[in-house]
């Protein structure tokens, strides 16, 4: 067993850290206040190759491994959740699902520009009336000759207004309450007539990012854009979550680190009762929990990343990593505010932004209640992974 990072992984970590700390950290508060996404972020992440970090070079990606993807997400969210959300939806949900389930032709047409960052991708699954009960989605896809006609609305979609393509899962058969056989996934060009979209405002967190809705009104999508077979949409979507959740887990780990670092710095500076508050045991207890949870969260996502590298199914491990890291990141941000006292309550310090940003991840990419059900069903022997028709490829150097 080897717990060390490779030289390549360390270099990736430093490169992404330098980018986020030098270019994004100085401006993020301004954009968070304005509730806008800094316009340079997507093009710059594309130019640097971060958007296609783990996509093979033959599809114009950077060809790094899954652990590098996790390390990049940790570094990005240590600055702001917005950056990691880009990786979750563009890379995790959209690009990696295309890589796993797409045909060679679809990969050439859609994955290559996504990996290059020439096009931006999103994942459109959740609906106004269906989130955790995903099998209950109501957006329909009706076969009409060589097209499907899509109708319905997707909600809480990150990068809805920035994306060029979205991986969309819709209902192609009547709702009988079964998860399999009734849903189908498509890669949809969002410039297709009948697509309208917009941003949702007034969010608690991820304010420097874009979260929105996408409406489909008689949108014609060619059969050639179907990802997987008709009826495989549930499996395709769950595969997407195996990757999206991994980026969320790794990112939340970065948020714990950021909360910890801010707390340590402040606790060493701020004095109360004649000594730095870092010397008071109740403050030390908070810091100790953050430090421990950071280590544990990192180990959980790195293990999931290692399994991905090996080509092993990791639904259970990725779900556990997401559950733990997001729960602990919210706790860490909350305690960081407590350590900062009244200053932590104002946006003069970053920790209030960490708290607002951490809250969303407890809900999205499978709420933590869903993650608990997943863990319980594995533990109780009610759930076993079945081989998929298309498996996520192992990492090849």
């Amino acid at each position: 067993m080897n717990f060390g990072l490779t030289e390549e992984q360390r270099m990736v970590q430093k490169m992404v850290r330098d980018f986020s700390q030098k270019e994004v950290a100085p401006i993020i508060q301004e954009y968070d206040r304005k509730q806008e996404m800094a316009p340079f972020i997507l093009p710059r992440m594309g130019e640097l190759g971060i958007l296609g970090i783990c996509i093979p070079e033959k599809y114009s990606g950077a060809g790094m491994d899954y652990i590098s993807l996790g390390l990049a997400c940790e570094e990005l969210e240590a600055v702001d959740t917005t950056l990691r959300v880009v990786m979750s939806v563009h890379t995790g949900l959209c690009s990696m699902t295309l890589w796993q389930w797409g045909s060679e032709e679809q990969k050439q047409k859609f994955l290559v520009p996504l990996a290059r960052g020439d096009k931006i991708g999103a994942g459109a699954f959740t609906e106004p009336g269906a989130g955790s009960d995903f099998a209950n989605i109501q957006t329909t896809g009706k076969r009409d000759g060589e097209d499907y006609i899509l109708n319905g609305e997707k909600m809480w979609i990150s990068l809805a207004s920035n994306a060029d393509y979205a991986l969309v899962t819709v209902r192609t058969q009547k709702d009988t309450g079964k998860s399999s056989g009734e849903l189908t996934s498509f890669i949809v060009d969002l410039s297709t007539p009948g697509v309208t979209r917009g941003d949702i405002h007034g969010k608690l967190g991820v304010r420097a990012g874009s979260t929105g809705w996408i409406n489909f009104q008689d949108v014609r999508v060619p059969v050639a854009n179907r990802i997987g077979e008709e009826g495989e949409g549930f499996k395709v979507t769950m595969s997407a979550f195996d990757n999206g959740r991994y980026t969320v887990a790794a990112g939340a780990t970065g948020l714990i680190r950021a909360a910890l670092e801010a707390s340590v710095n402040y606790a060493n500076e701020r004095k109360a009762f004649g000594k730095p508050i870092a010397q008071h045991q109740l403050i030390q207890s908070k810091i100790a929990h953050m430090a421990l949870n950071y280590e544990a969260a990192q180990l959980l996502y790195l293990k999931a990343g290692w399994m991905k590298n090996e080509g092993q199914r990791n639904t259970k491990e990725t779900s556990a990593a997401k559950w733990f890291a997001t729960e602990k990141s919210f706790e860490a941000a909350n305690e960081a505010i407590q350590i900062h006292g009244a200053y932590g309550f104002s946006d003069e310090y970053n920790v209030e932004r960490y708290l607002r940003n951490a809250r969303g991840a407890v809900i999205y990419e499978g709420s933590n209640e869903i993650q608990q059900l997943i863990q319980a069903s594995y533990a109780l022997g009610e759930r076993q992974d079945k081989a998929l028709r298309m498996e996520m490829p192992a990492y090849e150097e």
Binding site: E7, M11, V12, K14, M15, G49, I53, A62, G63, M64
Partner: protein, 257 residues
Amino acid sequence: MNIVVCVKQVPDSAAQLSVEGGQISWGEAPLVINPWDEYAVEAALQKAKDLGGSVTVLSMGKESETEALKHALAMGCNEAVLVSDPALAGSDNVAAARVLAAAIAKVDDVGLVFFGKQAIDSDTGTLPAQVARVLGWPALTLVSAIDELNADGIKVERAIEEGRQVVQSGLPAVVSVIKDYGEPRYPSFMGIRKAARATIPVWALGELGIEAPSPVVAWPEVMAPPQREIATEIITGGSPAEIAATLADKIMAEKVL
């Protein structure tokens, strides 16, 4: 025409330095490329692109110290060479200059040698001029911009205390660059992949055809500077003018001005 860029591996700037047993220690802090050298690498890569030459990154250190070289390779340098020899332990700048000059002489068709303005650990800033002296080439130090560069010569702007100075010289030449030159690029993923797989050739003194140069500087004792007593006082008063007057009096009394 090829370009050599000299880099140094130093403790990360966030490292806590201490003195243990007469030796400077930076604990477990990671070793990184000297931040000033990243500007030199950037300059070298830009000029090699303009002129069509190749960039060799050169460093002197222990055999395990390849982090700075790998970083430069990941940024896009074509070749990396580490000069390492147990006989070089304890080298000062005079010795380092002789060794680096011998290594530069071993690279084909070198027209320019780039340095960062100084290393953040030793902070001398003299090595570029010393290497130039050993090579017998012009030294253009503290360069903020390169205005002209062709086979005949180079024209640069130097940032000196009095202002900007425009200087030109023939080639080959040694150039040290400052921050104003422009932000260094990040390593690319392709560069990282190449660098991680690269085996860096190590040149020992025998391959340079020189003996270990004798240092001229000795370090009889190394000590940490005494901790400064810092007292903080908040000046209060009835009006800004009163506060300012009290502050001015205190500054005068403390002989700050």
